[in-house]
Symmetry: none
Subunit: 225 residues, 2 copies
Amino acid sequence: MEAKITLSESMEDYLEAIFNLIKENGSARVTDIANSLGIAASSVNQGLKKLNEQGLIKQQKYGPIKLTQSGVQAAEKVNCKHQILYLFLHKTLGVEPETADQDACSIEHVLSQQSFEKMVDYLIENNYIEEQNCAFKFMENEEEEKMAAKEFMLDSMSVGSKAEVLKIESKGRLKRKLMDMGLNRGARVEVKGKAPMGDPIEIKVRGYSLSLRQDEAAEILVKEV
Amino acid sequence: MEAKITLSESMEDYLEAIFNLIKENGSARVTDIANSLGIAASSVNQGLKKLNEQGLIKQQKYGPIKLTQSGVQAAEKVNCKHQILYLFLHKTLGVEPETADQDACSIEHVLSQQSFEKMVDYLIENNYIEEQNCAFKFMENEEEEKMAAKEFMLDSMSVGSKAEVLKIESKGRLKRKLMDMGLNRGARVEVKGKAPMGDPIEIKVRGYSLSLRQDEAAEILVKEV
DNA sequence: TATTATTTTTAGGTTAACCTAAAAGTTGGG
DNA sequence: CCCAACTTTTAGGTTAACCTAAAAATAATA
């Protein structure tokens, strides 16, 4: 129902940096963010524009940067992932703090939900974290997954039907590409049309129209709604 | 001058795909690589050009793709990282095979050496792999890594550099011709000049000057000296 | 409050990694 | 041996994420 936002890696980095700076200093300025990420202030400025468009931060020209509600949510989610990874690498594998932190930083953007969950399980079992912890904020939606029924591959949906994306079955780059198009878990799609041979297929996601090759659509598991 | 090769994520992906395709089918074609990575053939083509420049693969126009010695090395390294991650995620954390594979794919490019080593330690302790395994191929040679990869195809050497011929990769008439020019194993060559488009290339061997077409030079594996 | 210093923004790039469409080259079947 | 089908390459884009240099706005201080 909510317009679920998709963040690129660097957008996540910006958010996280803002989140941490606010926690530490009470405020986040363009230069602070730039310093903490090691990039130019002008680059940060551009990034903030996008976060602003997504409604995750609020900034007036030359003014201080604040997180909106959904901004805080998103930032906490990223931060939480970071913490899980850090703890896992450092506490259970014995990786040095600094390296663990760097690795967490690079992995947090790409690791699957499932792997995160498994790490959390492991950390709980070994008493490194407790169930009450931040670790769980992003995990709520587990059983919803097994609500089975009415699951199809997107290419077999009929014109006019609506569905929710459950999973992208392909790997690597293709998966990435599809996700970048907005086809993330939970996204609502509507099949607007199909060419005679079923290729390509016209769909609508998050307000955008886009057309998929049939073999691409065949990689997308959806639940009819 | 250290010629240490640094590979971007996608270059690593290309290498890995080539490596696997050759293992599975005996050969890797542009379209196969494109399919296995889910990207357009033309994109692969461009990527291959770069790998070629780095001396990691060898391809003649419209011809099959082969890995050079250093190409195989690099590919094995990446593949090995992939395997470690896969085993770790799947065997010790219980992540599902498919997801573990995808995650391995994204992480393999960015995880630190140290974290890899810790995972290997863990895998050995729990008897998922043995010391003899591939897992170590990329770990012994930390300093050797800097030495390595001074091997190039002659056409990718810069003007002014000197090298020793290791092998002529072509066969038949062309090989004969090149050998007759004095390009035998062990011969010392110096690159005297290149025409604007890299074709032809002026070299000096055993006191003679001679000029090679680029695709001829691309058949000659040399070690920089 | 004027002047200097700092911060933020704008303008105008670059690069890597993709893309589509079409041309060039190769191959297999009639 | 020729043509249709496929593969590979070329040509000409796009986009995200950076950059530098300089202009505009704000803050500090003498």
